[in-house]
Structures are given as structure tokens and as C-alpha cells.
């Protein structure tokens, strides 16, 4: 039979994770992982091995490094609230891992552009790619920038989101090319290196992370033949699987609001029909888009996945 909250706390104090907590954490990871698309695991498929890998990474990065397990066990008033807290922690882990991948893509694109665009030139003397300083060909400087991060951010903020056509949320925010399209990325790099002085890729990413509110990218090796991420779209079967995972994560309330939106094709009418309001329907729609955007590789695919998601939910309600 399932352990009580008191038994779990006692086990935690004694051995951190014993038999009972291991069983609970495994069940939470197993059930929650399967509601996410297989792209959330580097194995490409959810099975016992990839779920065990995810559970292990979650435990190391959240339950220990963030003390989530200790905090949740101490704070929970019931076993149900502990299970809910652990589920949220695992979801945060999966999402953060995924967003790091997107940030890594941006980092990769940045380094590739610095290497290939004649408007940028490398300063001599850097032995390692991560430490390689880059400057403008048109206005080269030989010393690294001495500005503080705060001052660098001020320079970065001189170009507004409108200037850069930043796309964060909505059906045009692509997993493969987050935040900045190629021309805007080039403009941003020219502006920052011109205003701040020579920087290495890690410095540039630090500025980008804060300027565009990105997570920490994953560590990658900057080899000479650094490859841009592949941006082929998913096949129809995979799009259906992604749509099912989006539908599974929306929950009853958002599903109900979106089903009403499909039926009435108008935010206000849908809000009235679902005994809610226009803002709630719009928010549910935007939240669906945000989940879809984590998967879609281009705007057409985002639209198709949205359609399939709504079809799944609305079809079920008929």
C-alpha cells in the first residue's frame, strides 16, 4: 500500500531517498513524462530507460540541487499536495531542459554567424573557441570589453524588440530559431560588438540570455565544423502525437474553453458559452500556443498542430 506522508518524511530524514520515496518519484516521473512528446528525451522515445534517465536528472538538478524534495516534504500538508508539488517540479525540469535546447540553438547560430560573416573578425591569441574574442571588421578593437554586465545590457537594450522584430510567443515563435531571425541576429551582434567592444561567445550569450529572458544553454563543444540545428518538420504521425500531448497537458478547464472557441470562432461568444469571459478564452488559447511553440518547427506546422489539438479536444466532446 502507498506510504503515508509521515512515513515518507521519516525515510527522507534517515536516507534521503529510500525504497518508498524511490517508488513514488518513479511513478510520478513515469506518468508525467508520458504526457510530453518524445522529443523531451534525448533518447527520442519514452521507455523505462529514458524515464529512469529523466528521473535521475530531475533528482540531481531539482530534488537535490534545488532542495525541492526536502522543501516539498516539509511544506506539504497532505500526500496529495506532495504529489502535486513533485509533479510540478518534474514538469519544470522537463520544460527547462527543453528551453535550454532552444537557447543552445541560438548560441550555435551566433557562433556560426561570427565565423562565417565577413563583418565579424576573430582577435588572435585565443586558444579555445569559447574564449575566442570577436570584434567588428569595420571598427576593430584589440582589447576585450571592460564594460560591466549592467553597462553591456544597456547597450543591448538600445535596440528594442520592435527594432529586432523579436518573436517570443504565438504561432511564429519557432523552436528551431527562437527569438531572433537571422537578419535580426546579425543586426544585434553588430550593435553589441560595436557598442561594447570585443566579446567572446559566452559573454555574448550572457547578454542575450538576460536581454531576451532565455534559460542557460546546454554546454556544447564549439568544434570547427559546428553544425546548425536541423529544421526539418515532423511527419503527419508525429504531428498527431504532439497534438495529443498538447491536449493531454491542457487540462479540463482550458480544454472546455478551447472547445467553445472552436464552436463559436469568437473569443467573446466562446467565453459566454463556457460561462467564463473573453479574457479567459484568449488566455487559454495563448497558453495552448505556448505549448505548441515548444514543438513546432515552422509557422505552418504550428498551425497544423493547433488544429489537430483542437480537433482532438472538440472531437472528444461530441
Amino acid at each position: 500500500m502507498s506510504a503515508t506522508l509521515g512515513q515518507l518524511r521519516e525515510e527522507h530524514q534517515r536516507v534521503f531517498i529510500g525504497v518508498q520515496l524511490a517508488a513514488l518519484l518513479t511513478r510520478i516521473a513515469t506518468a508525467t513524462a508520458r504526457s510530453y512528446p518524445s522529443s523531451y528525451t534525448s533518447a527520442g522515445v519514452w521507455n523505462q530507460d529514458s524515464i529512469a534517465d529523466a528521473a535521475q536528472a530531475w533528482t540531481a538538478e531539482r530534488l537535490i540541487a534545488r532542495r525541492d524534495l526536502t522543501n516539498l516534504l516539509a511544506g506539504a500538508s497532505t500526500i496529495d499536495s506532495l504529489r502535486a508539488g513533485l509533479t510540478r517540479s518534474f514538469q519544470q525540469h522537463l520544460t527547462n531542459q527543453r528551453q535550454s535546447t532552444s537557447a543552445t540553438n541560438l548560441y550555435t547560430r551566433t557562433v556560426t554567424m561570427l565565423r562565417s560573416d565577413p563583418d565579424f573578425q576573430a582577435l588572435p591569441g585565443s586558444a579555445r573557441p569559447h574564449h575566442q574574442l570577436w570584434t567588428l571588421t569595420s571598427d576593430p578593437h584589440s582589447e576585450p570589453s571592460r564594460l560591466t554586465l549592467g553597462d553591456r545590457l544597456k547597450v543591448a537594450a538600445e535596440l528594442t524588440d520592435d527594432d529586432l522584430a523579436v518573436i517570443r510567443y504565438g504561432p511564429l515563435s519557432l523552436k528551431s530559431s527562437p527569438i531572433l531571425r537571422t537578419p535580426a541576429l546579425r543586426r544585434f551582434l553588430l550593435h553589441v560588438l560595436g557598442g561594447v567592444g570585443p566579446l567572446n561567445p559566452a559573454d555574448i550569450m550572457d547578454i542575450m540570455r538576460r536581454r531576451f529572458a532565455l534559460p542557460e544553454p546546454q554546454a556544447i563543444e564549439l568544434t570547427e565544423d559546428l553544425q546548425m540545428p536541423v529544421t526539418a518538420t515532423h511527419d503527419a504521425a508525429m504531428e498527431r502525437m504532439i497534438a495529443a500531448s498538447v491536449a493531454a497537458r491542457l487540462g479540463a478547464r482550458r480544454a472546455q474553453l478551447l472547445a467553445a472557441l472552436v464552436e463559436h470562432e469568437d473569443f467573446k461568444a466562446a467565453g459566454d458559452a463556457a460561462a467564463s469571459d473573453e479574457a479567459a478564452v484568449r488566455r487559454a488559447y495563448m497558453e495552448m500556443l505556448a505549448i505548441v511553440d515548444d514543438e513546432a518547427l515552422d509557422a505552418d506546422e504550428a498551425q497544423r498542430i493547433c488544429g489537430l489539438t483542437l480537433e482532438t479536444l472538440f472531437g472528444d466532446n461530441e
Partner: protein
């Protein structure tokens, strides 16, 4: 009425025989959960992966209960709290000011200051802390793992700073280290490095703009007792003849109880008559009335602006036409409309800034606008 969905792990239990009538009923009504259930497999996964974490007791906290909290300490809030009518100083308060909760989740908070502004030392300034630092906004101060004895980084959610009674606190679990305390002191003085705060919200659709419902409820519970006292104090002051007697509590800061913030400055609508009186020359030369103009004119913050609707986005905006301030870094707008409360994202006031208020609101629906000063 839609009931909250069970967790994925609840559905795994359900699949393996833990049948509950309520879950079956929910399944009939919820396409999302039916889809989720279709993705689960009736498996008994192995737990061998967890063996490497056995005996990591260095990551376990210990709790104690000193007589009084001190600044820079981390405390869990109490699961039970009761503030009876008798606890409120003024005898003529109505019964609805009693407040209690029982057996709720405990929330981790950082003690900021134990020298309450009032003469009643039972009230402390605290700020909730959360472990998901990757979603920190520019009102969240980030502490590194080295800056506290809990051994993990934190974001301190200053947008939910509040006063709590010592009876709302349960146990102490740790404290800031000396270097962490220095960071806190610098943050409160406004001199901490910019990178110690999270990244600014990127717009109204930024998912970081909203807290999970369980956190909203927990933070509301924490701040409610003090706000009830403030509300009661205001009621008493307004009925006292004449006013002038010094109060045991600070001057109440919020007129509506449900706008539960500690530092709200209310803007005034400028109707055409007022314009005539206050700006006779302008009114004489400008024929266009401005019924949706709002103004705040205090020593600390001066704000003039107007409400506009972005009809493409369906968003109510507050366009700032004039802004000046002293000792303020960030504010957010609190808007009462249609019996509800809406908040903008935090921002630094500046001329020409368009502040997003909420989707689906009209200008006519707005009853009050307040500027909430954030730490």
C-alpha cells in the same frame, strides 16, 4: 462547473486499479484527461536509478523554533493560524474580520525586517522564496547557493512582499550567510547589481507574469491578516470623531480589501469639470474632452496617462503621458474593473510607455487605478 484534473500519477494509479467514482466521472467529462490516459501504459517501472541518491542526507534540512524570528532567516509559514475578532484592537469591528486557516501547505519565506512600522512587534516584513530561479522576473532578487545555509539558489518574490504575524510562522530552517545578507541589504537600498534581479517580463503573454494558482492562494493567505487589520483600522478612523488620535497601526494603504498590496497610490480620474477647474487655460483652448485621463500627483510619484484599447489585440492599455518619481525603481498598476482586480506587469515609469492592463476590458469598465510601488 469544471473540476480540476487529477495528476498524471493519479491516472497511473487509476489505470492500475485504484478506481474512484469521482475519477471515472471526471474522465467522462474531460477530453484532456482521456487523451492523457491513452498515453499511459500499465507499467511497474524499476527504481534502481534512485540507488545512487541513497543517503544523500547532506541535502536534508533541519528545523528549529527559536522564540523570535530574526532578519535574513528562512522560516516555514505555519499550517494553522487564527486571528479572532478579539485580537483586533478596536472593539467596534464587525465579526467578518476574524480570519483563520487550518492544515494548509507551509510556505518558505525570508524575514526582511522585524522592526515593524507599528508599535506592535508581532508583525514582520517577509518575502516568499521559490526555487525556480530560471523564471525570475525583474522584481525577483536571486540569491546564489553560497549566499544561504540551505544550499540552493533562490528567487525572492518581492512583488509578494507582505507583513505577517509571528503566529503565522512555524519553524526556522536556515539563514542568509554574511555575503547573502550583504546582497539583501544592497537590494533593499537599491544598490545591488542589475544582474542579481531576473529578466524583465517580455509582455502580457509572458508565462512568468502569472503564478501558479496554489502559490497565489498561499501568498494571499499570508498577507490577508495584516490587510484585515489595515482595513479595520481604516473603518475605525473614518467613524472616529474627530480623527487625530495616533494609531497603533500604520495608516491603511488600501481602500478595497481585495486590492491587497501594501503600497498603493490611487490615481484620480480627470473628468471635464475638473479639467476646467484645474487647467482653465488649457480647457479654454482645447475643445476635446479627455474622460479617460488619470492622474497621480504625490511627492514620490507623479503619473499622468490615459486609457486606450488596442482593438487588434483586445488589450486595455494605460498610455503614460508624464512620469516622474523619487526613490522608486518599479511599479505595477492595479485596476479594479467589473468587480475584479487586474494587474500590469512590473515596469519602470516613463513617458510614452504603453502599459498592458488586461485583455477584454473596456475603458468604461475601469473603476479605480492604483500604482503599486514595488521594492
Amino acid at each position: 462547473m469544471t473540476h480540476p484534473c487529477p495528476l498524471p500519477v493519479d491516472w497511473l494509479d487509476y489505470m492500475q486499479g485504484a478506481d474512484e467514482v469521482g475519477m471515472t466521472r471526471h474522465l467522462n467529462d474531460c477530453g484532456s484527461c482521456r487523451t492523457l490516459l491513452g498515453q499511459l501504459e500499465p507499467e511497474q517501472p524499476a527504481t534502481a536509478w534512485a540507488e545512487r541518491f541513497h543517503c544523500r542526507t547532506d541535502a536534508v534540512w533541519s528545523e528549529d523554533r527559536p522564540a523570535k524570528p530574526a532578519p535574513a532567516e528562512f522560516w516555514f509559514s505555519a499550517p494553522n493560524f487564527e486571528m479572532s475578532e478579539a485580537k483586533i484592537r478596536h472593539a467596534d469591528l464587525s465579526i467578518h474580520n476574524a480570519f483563520s486557516y487550518r492544515e494548509v501547505d507551509r510556505t518558505l519565506v525570508l524575514i526582511l525586517d522585524t522592526s515593524a512600522e507599528s508599535h506592535d512587534s508581532d508583525w514582520l516584513d517577509v518575502v516568499p522564496v521559490l526555487s525556480d530561479i530560471e523564471v525570475a522576473t525583474d522584481t525577483d532578487l536571486i540569491f546564489t547557493a553560497e549566499e544561504n545555509t540551505l544550499g540552493t539558489p533562490w528567487r525572492t518574490v518581492f512583488s509578494h512582499q507582505c507583513k505577517v504575524n509571528t503566529a503565522q510562522l512555524d519553524t526556522r530552517v536556515g539563514a542568509l550567510t554574511d555575503i547573502g545578507f550583504l546582497t539583501l541589504t544592497e537590494a533593499l537600498a537599491g544598490t545591488v547589481a542589475e544582474e542579481r534581479w531576473g529578466a524583465a517580463l517580455q509582455g502580457p503573454d509572458d508565462p512568468r507574469a502569472r503564478l501558479d494558482e496554489h502559490l497565489e492562494q498561499a501568498f494571499t493567505r499570508l498577507r490577508t491578516p495584516w490587510l484585515l487589520l489595515a482595513e479595520a483600522e481604516e473603518d475605525c478612523e473614518s467613524t472616529r470623531q474627530p480623527a487625530g488620535e495616533p494609531s497603533g497601526h500604520p495608516t491603511p494603504v488600501s481602500h478595497e480589501l481585495h486590492v491587497s498590496r501594501a503600497k498603493i497610490l490611487w490615481l484620480h480620474p480627470i473628468v471635464p469639470d475638473e479639467e476646467m477647474q484645474e487647467y482653465p487655460l488649457a480647457a479654454a483652448t482645447l475643445a476635446i474632452p479627455s474622460p479617460h485621463m488619470w492622474v497621480l500627483d504625490t511627492d514620490r510619484l507623479k503619473l499622468h496617462g490615459k486609457l486606450e484599447v488596442d482593438f487588434q489585440q483586445g488589450v486595455l492599455l494605460f498610455l503614460i503621458t508624464t512620469a516622474s518619481f523619487q526613490n522608486i525603481v518599479r511599479i505595477r498598476l492595479a485596476v479594479l474593473a467589473k468587480g475584479g482586480e487586474h494587474h500590469s506587469a512590473p515596469f519602470t515609469p516613463r513617458t510614452q510607455l504603453a502599459v498592458h492592463i488586461a485583455h477584454g476590458l473596456t475603458r468604461q469598465a475601469v473603476e479605480k487605478i492604483g500604482a503599486e510601488i514595488l521594492p
